[in-house]
Amino acid sequence: MIARFIALAALVSVSSGIAGPPHRAPPLPAGTISGKVTYTGTLPKLRPIDMAKEPNCVTQHPTPVMTQDAVTGPANSVRYVVVYISAGDQGAPAATDTVHYDQKGCLYIPHVAAMQVHQPLAIFNDDPHSHNIHPLARVNPEWNKSQPKGAPPIRTSWDQPEFIAVKCNVHPWMHGYFVVLVTPHFTVTDSTGEFSLTGLPAGKYTVTAWHERFGTQSQEVTIGGSETKTANFVLTARPY
């Protein structure tokens, strides 16, 4: 029960975008890169997810859930963007805290989970029925496992950096991502689109923002010491 509580707490922390491993003391002095991700262009029309085949998921959502491939917030902010250091990082041993990935109400929570290579990952099924978890990995070994009601969590990790689409074949609308990165400096934006990468030693970095639908953008940022630099991203949205 306690483990479950901790799990949920960690889950909240991951989904709210403070995914950086908190337990490691950052080297001092350390800089920060922060910014906001927004979009231009026309958004694709969000569609309500039709969960009719799984009635108890329908009842869990009094208002219909929309597709999650292009979730935006106020002032054109973009949610579920993974912002991370793609070059210039010295690398670090894998974080040891467990990333939690939940299946609840026939949705993946969070929709996008970022983690380091070799970082422990635990997948829970909170629904009163079976799901299958099918990470469509290409670099890492692909697997496909069912998790019936009452089955223990699936504990695993990934050995290679990769953007892995995750799907549930039983509920085809369930779709998410495991973003496996080498760097310990990464975050996933919330609905404000804002992000902040902390604890960066002085150096020249490439910061990359990735979104499942709007693509990838990178910027070079140089950190001189204990300073905060801004890097904003503007992604292009297309209606189809």
Binding site: P44, K53, P172, R213
Partner: protein, 266 residues
């Protein structure tokens, strides 16, 4: 021991047959126009086969009871040798086969070898691991073309439509339940996205496989409003047991209203 065998076989036969005869477990009520005749065929077969079953088991029981070991009695051969039995089997089963085939193949032909009635509601069905999706043509009455390379569950583009370039695809209504008006003929065109599936609604008395690479037509008319379950009956992978959808048969007005709402939400 012969008597014991006879009793056990008789009890098994009679109890089994009684459970059939009293419909302890039976087909759900039929809600289709063609189902009445399938049910009749089922009943007739049940009577004939049931009679053969009970007679066969009882004959075995009676003979075993009657002719148990008695070392004193001389054996007798079956009166007339095998010929009467051959004639009996050929005539009895032969007539049964003729009758069942003549009546049954007509029932079959009416469901599967006739064209759909003119003015049928056209619905496209997609079977995929592990769900059914349904598509209505929308206001323009035309279905957009399917492009396998565009199929994506993540963006809910189950049918692989190309609304960017194909205007007929923009108003296609795609839903996860089969909603049909009562008493109107419906024609399904069945596509399989990945592997074999099957379309089975017990109440509708209809079952048909999806075959990848083929578009398979199927038509029926539902007569009773309500919500029924559509299940997959062709092994399609790990989620086979959970591959289902609901069939909602609505009064005409409700159906039109539903279609209007769906079109407006596009």
């Amino acid at each position: 021991m012969g008597r014991l065998f006879a009793v056990v076989v008789s009890v098994i036969a009679l109890v089994s047959a009684a459970i059939f005869a009293f419909h302890v477990w039976w087909l759900p009520p039929d809600i289709s126009t063609h189902g009445v005749r399938i049910d009749r065929q089922m009943n007739e077969t049940m009577v004939v086969a049931g009679a053969l079953f009970v007679l066969g088991q009882l004959a075995l029981a009676v003979f075993v009871w009657r002719f148990s070991a008695s070392e004193t009695r001389a054996v007798k051969s079956f009166p007339g040798g095998p010929t009467p039995l051959v004639v009996l089997a050929t005539v009895l089963v032969g007539i049964e086969i003729l009758v069942l085939t003549f009546v049954g193949s007509k029932v079959w032909a009416d469901v599967y070898q006739t064209p759909p009635a003119p003015g049928s509601l056209q619905v496209e069905v997609l079977g995929e691991q592990f769900a059914f999706y349904f598509r209505y043509a929308g206001a323009d009455g035309k279905f957009g073309a399917m492009h396998p390379e565009l199929m994506s569950d993540a963006t809910e583009n189950f049918f692989g439509l190309d609304p960017a370039n194909d205007t007929t695809a923009r108003d296609d209504i795609v839903v996860g339940s089969l909603v049909i008006p009562v008493n109107q003929p419906v024609e399904l065109r069945m596509h399989a996205k990945d592997v074999n599936h099957s379309f089975y609604v017990p109440e509708l008395r209809i079952q048909q496989d999806f075959v990848p690479g083929l578009v398979i037509p199927l038509h029926f008319t539902a007569t009773t409003p309500g919500k029924y379950e559509l299940v997959c009956t062709q092994l399609c992978g790990l989620g086979h047991y959970n591959m289902r959808a609901f069939v909602e048969v609505k009064p005409r007005a409700d159906f039109d209203q539903w279609l209007k709402e769906k079109a407006a939400a596009l």
